[in-house]
Structure formats: structure tokens, C-alpha cells
């Protein structure tokens, strides 16, 4: 099967520091893929590159488009690339580049089907839970100025559909009773779930979760694992996650990518990774001691 996400030769440099070096990996559709590695290995940097918040220094990131065409969507092009001399005699390319330079950015990555959550939760604190989810559906409702001001039938229909969709996700995440509370006054665990619900409201094909279990207690973590599995099974959403909780990662993921010092040192199924001597040496060695074995 064609991979949903293909990352090839991804490198990222900040000034003189190389954060990522020649990272290659793929995410199969319908899979749960986990990025693991010690602190500072560059996991979040990979996330930021994939979701378009950082512009990769070199390499390519492709997302399979909905029609399964050959090369898929070039995510880096959506961020706006520097103009080149050769564009001068290719007016179509030039206009495309200019367009993406002016209007490109991470929002376009989201619009082709990649949603994400953040390590440090980023909610709209002074908006209600429901409003948070409605903002996420900005591109699916009638955002025209006139139809909104006149409250046209089309506008109301779209708003209703958006509220219904948001309610469905709230129920899925057990947040329905909180719909009209301010997002900022929710307890921490609820905020994590709300952020996932909000990302899902953009109807992504690939959901990137940055340490979703951070700060949760073991019960909450268990519920979360269950939830992620349900997401995949019932809604066919592919999941890419960063996680430090090895128990959870080994339980739910189909495929692991291990990063160390910005390089991929191993990839494979959880069982293979647990055996991999390089991984054990670099990372799990200390973890096994702490967790009492995997």
C-alpha cells in the first residue's frame, strides 16, 4: 500500500545547530505510528516540519492525496519556497510560487488533511469549549461576511451542522456537559481531550499528537489509549504520535520510529524495536532500568 506520509531526507538547521539530519520514515494509512527517542532527539522538530510550522532546510515531505495519485502533495511547497531564476520562463510555476509565498503556511498543510495537537496545550482560553470547536471548522462553514450579517438560510444551516459535528466529537471525548464552559477553566485532562477534539473537527486524514499522555495519570492514559484505537478503527484516521510513556507506545502503535540526536536509528514493529541493540543502548537501556522492563 502507498504510504500516507512520506518523509525523505529531512534536515533542519537552526543557525549552526543541526536539529535533524537526513530523517526518513513513512506512515501507512490507517496505522498508528509513534516517534520516540530521548529528550532533545528532535521529535517535536519533526512534527513542526510535518505540520508546516518550521520550514525544513532540506528534504521532502509528501502526503498522499485523496485520489491516490502518484507523488501526492508536496507539503513543503505549501509553505512558500524561495523564488528561482528558472521561474522567470515558467510563468505558471512563478505565479504558483508567488501565491504560496504570499498566502502559504501551516494552515494550508492543515487544509490538505494534517491536524495536530501541541505539547504545551494551546487552547483559546477565553472562548467556550463549543467555540473552540467551531473555530476549527472555519473552513467548513459559511464564513462570508454578508450571509453571516444577514443570517442567511445557508449560513444557519452550516452553523447548525458545525454545532452538531462539534457536539458529536464532544460526546466522543466525554466533554458534552462542558460545552458552554470556558476552555481555560477546564481541568488539565479535559483540556488535553478538548485539544484533540478540536484537531479532529478539521476533519484530518493524519492526526499528529504531541505527547498526548503527558501529565495524565495511569487511568487517564489507559482511557486515552483506548480512545486513540477507537479513532483509528471507527473513523479510519491515521495517527502519528510522540510519546514518552513506553507502556502506552508499545501497546497501541503498529510502527515505531526511533530518533536520536536528530537521526533515525531504528524503525519497525514494537517487538523489533524492543530487541534492537542500538535502541536499547541509546534510549531504552535507561528506560528499562526505570520501568522494570518492557
Amino acid at each position: 500500500m502507498m504510504p500516507l506520509l512520506t518523509v525523505h531526507g529531512l534536515s533542519m538547521r537552526f543557525g549552526g545547530v543541526t536539529a535533524l539530519h537526513q530523517v526518513d520514515f513513512t506512515v501507512q494509512p490507517g496505522s498508528i505510528t509513534a516517534l520516540i527517542g530521548p529528550n532533545g532527539a528532535g521529535k517535536t522538530t519533526v512534527f513542526n516540519c510535518v505540520t508546516g510550522f518550521y520550514r525544513a532546510s532540506s528534504g521532502t515531505i509528501h502526503l498522499q492525496d485523496e485520489y491516490q495519485q502518484a507523488e501526492g502533495i508536496d507539503l513543503l511547497a505549501l509553505l512558500g519556497e524561495p523564488l528561482q531564476w528558472s521561474d522567470l520562463w515558467q510563468p505558471h510555476r512563478l505565479s504558483q510560487r508567488l501565491y504560496y509565498k504570499m498566502f502559504g503556511g501551516p494552515h494550508l498543510v492543515n487544509r490538505v488533511g494534517v491536524a495536530r495537537t501541541f505539547q504545551n496545550i494551546r487552547l483559546f482560553n477565553e472562548l467556550t469549549v463549543m467555540e473552540n470547536l467551531l473555530v476549527a471548522q472555519h473552513n467548513q462553514v459559511d464564513s462570508g461576511l454578508l450571509s453571516g450579517l444577514l443570517s442567511s438560510r445557508r449560513f444557519r444551516a452550516y452553523e447548525q451542522a458545525a454545532v452538531a459535528r462539534a457536539s458529536a466529537w464532544l460526546r466522543f471525548f466525554d466533554l458534552l456537559p462542558e460545552a458552554n464552559r470556558l476552555a481555560g477553566e477546564l481541568p488539565y485532562g479535559y483540556q488535553r481531550r478538548l485539544e484533540m477534539a478540536r484537531a479532529l473537527c478539521t476533519q484530518p486524514r493524519l492526526l499528529c499528537l504531541d505527547e498526548p499522555a503527558a501529565g495524565l495519570n495511569p487511568n487517564e492514559t489507559k482511557a486515552l489509549s483506548q480512545l486513540i484505537l477507537t479513532l483509528r478503527e471507527r473513523f479510519a484516521i491515521t495517527i502519528l504520535l510522540i510519546e514518552h510513556d513506553m507502556g502506552m507506545v508499545m501497546d497501541i502503535s503498529d510502527h515505531l520510529v526511533v530518533l536520536e540526536h536528530g537521526e533515525v536509528i531504528a524503525r519497525g514493529k514494537p517487538e523489533q524495536i524492543q530487541q534492537d541493540p542500538r535502541v536499547l543502548a541509546a534510549y531504552l537501556g535507561t528506560q528499562t532500568a526505570e520501568k522494570g522492563g518492557l
Partner: protein, 308 residues
């Protein structure tokens, strides 16, 4: 083009630029340490102009004659009190807002700016004020020149450049060579970490405001002596100009502030001299906008990486 006219604009630009640089230091240091544009900094400069005039008048009231003694006394008094104003503004209007949202300190600063302007207007009157000429005299290069063929440098102009350079050198020394300066640099790099390591960051932030105000006071005194007249509204224009200098040099960078000041001073005086003097402020503001759009990190600043 007449070499002497070019030379004269060069001198004027340098003099203007060094005062911009001195005030820009206040913007750049505060921005570097708490990431905020201290909008009231221009008013601090304006207050120092009033203090200079008041202390000069006080000196003549007590019958002090010797020019160097008077200038030194006025300098110390002005710098001290202006710094006290800078410190108080920080205590009252910015410190309580350390953890509030992004807009709050800026709005508070605009409030302070209105307060200071009107405080001066009410207590000193709205009319133009002035100081008597001190330290008259000029150098002409070449000294034997006749007609218009010379470059003129007043004693005060040279005093401005020399004092500006000396104050910058002193500040650079403090920042790079003393324990206080090390604490400042540490706080600028990472406030939370510096605090964990035992640096009293609140005190350091106060110190930065005090140093910025002191530099503005030096500039205020020099400009007042040079131009002789001022009013309660001068802080606004000077404030934006100095901020422009800070942006040009790269906001957050100390040598950048001085470089930006000199570049802006030269650009402005050449524009005024050779293009159009009515539009020199428009030119400076346009420079500010263009730099913010196309090169927000200025000449010497480091581009910001957005933290996600």
C-alpha cells in the same frame, strides 16, 4: 556636489545620530530583557530636558559661574533624577503587568506617556522653554576658510559625540565586565533560568530601566544644550526616531543601537540636505516601516525563531 556641504551634513548626521543612539539604548535593552516596547521612553527623555533647564537655572540662582563645574553638576543631577523617573515608571506601570497578556504593558506605557506629558504641561506650562547658551564657539575646517567653503563644528557638537561615545563605552563595560552586567546578560538569555540560579531578575529589570533612562538623560541634556529650546511634546518624535534607530541596528543589540542611531542620523540629514527637508520625518518613519517589514532583525540583530 560641494565637498563642504557633504562634510557638513556628515557632521550634522553624526551629531544627531549619536543622540538617537543614546536614547535607542533604552529601547533596545528593555526589549531585550522583557520583550516589550517601552513606549514611555521618549517622555523620559523629555523630562530630562526639563530637568536640565531647571538645574541650569538653579545653578545660576546660586551664582555658580564655572562652566565645567556647572555642566558636571547638572549632568549628575539630571541623570540621577531621570533615572529615578525611569525606575518609578517601571515599578508603577510595568512590574504589576509582568504576567498579563501581551497588549497590557504597551497600553499601560501609552497611559504613562500621556500622564508624563500632561504632568509636565500642567506643572511647567505649555509654552516653549529654553536654556541660555552655554559653551559657545566653533571650529572651522579648514580654519582659514572664507565664504561658504568650510565645515563648521560647534564645541557642543563635539561634546555631544564625545560624551555619547564615552557613555556607550561605559555602558558596554558595565554589561560585559561587571557582575551586574553578567546578571543582565543572563536574564536576557533566559529569565526563568537566571532566576533559578539566584539572580534577582526583578532587580535586574529595574536596573535596565534605570540604565536606559540614564542614557536618555545624557542625550536629553546634550540636545537641550545644543538646541536651546524644547517643549513638553518633544518626547514623542524623538521617541519614534530613537526606536527607529533601535530597529535599524537590530532591536536587542547594544552596539546595534549606536550603529542604528548613526545610520539614521546620517540618512536623515542627507535626506534633509539633498532631497527635501519637509519630508525628513516621513523618510525616517518610512525607513522604520520598511525595515520592520523586510528586515525586522535589523543590521546586527538575530532573527527570531517562532517557538511552537
Amino acid at each position: 556636489m560641494d565637498i563642504y556641504i557633504v562634510g557638513q551634513q556628515l557632521v550634522n548626521g553624526l551629531v544627531l545620530g549619536s543622540t538617537y543612539g543614546l536614547i535607542a539604548v533604552g529601547y533596545t535593552m528593555v526589549y531585550g530583557i522583557i520583550g516589550m516596547i517601552n513606549f514611555a521612553h521618549g517622555e523620559i527623555y523629555m523630562i530630562s530636558a526639563y530637568l536640565t533647564a531647571i538645574f541650569l537655572a538653579l545653578a545660576s540662582y546660586f551664582g555658580l559661574q564655572s562652566v565645567p563645574v556647572v555642566l558636571l553638576l547638572v549632568l549628575f543631577a539630571t541623570v540621577f533624577l531621570t533615572a529615578l523617573y525611569g525606575w518609578s515608571v517601571e515599578q508603577i506601570a510595568y512590574r504589576p503587568l509582568r504576567h498579563s497578556n501581551r497588549l497590557a504593558p504597551l497600553i499601560s506605557a501609552i497611559g504613562i506617556s500621556l500622564i508624563l506629558q500632561n504632568y509636565i504641561r500642567i506643572s511647567q506650562g505649555a509654552r516653549n522653554q529654553g536654556v541660555p547658551p552655554v559653551l559657545d564657539g566653533v571650529w572651522r575646517i579648514p580654519s582659514s576658510a572664507i565664504d561658504q567653503h568650510f565645515i563648521q563644528i560647534t564645541y557642543l557638537q563635539s561634546l555631544i559625540v564625545v560624551t555619547a561615545l564615552a557613555s556607550m563605552a561605559l555602558l558596554t563595560w558595565i554589561i560585559h565586565r561587571t557582575a551586574l552586567g553578567r546578571a543582565c546578560r543572563a536574564t536576557q538569555q533566559d529569565r526563568i533560568m537566571a532566576n533559578l540560579l539566584g539572580v534577582d531578575t526583578d532587580r535586574i529589570i529595574s536596573v535596565v530601566f534605570v540604565m536606559g533612562a540614564a542614557m536618555a538623560a545624557v542625550a536629553g541634556m546634550l540636545v537641550t544644550l545644543n538646541y536651546g529650546s524644547f517643549d513638553f511634546y518633544i518626547g514623542f518624535l524623538m521617541g519614534i526616531k530613537a526606536f527607529t534607530a533601535a530597529v535599524l541596528g537590530g532591536i536587542g543589540s547594544l552596539p546595534g543601537a549606536m550603529l542604528g542611531g548613526v545610520v539614521l542620523g546620517l540618512a536623515e540629514s542627507f535626506f534633509a540636505g539633498f532631497v527635501n527637508s519637509d519630508y525628513k520625518d516621513v523618510f525616517a518613519f518610512s525607513l522604520l516601516i520598511l525595515f520592520l517589514i523586510f528586515r525586522p532583525s535589523g543590521f546586527l540583530g538575530v532573527p527570531e525563531v517562532e517557538k511552537v
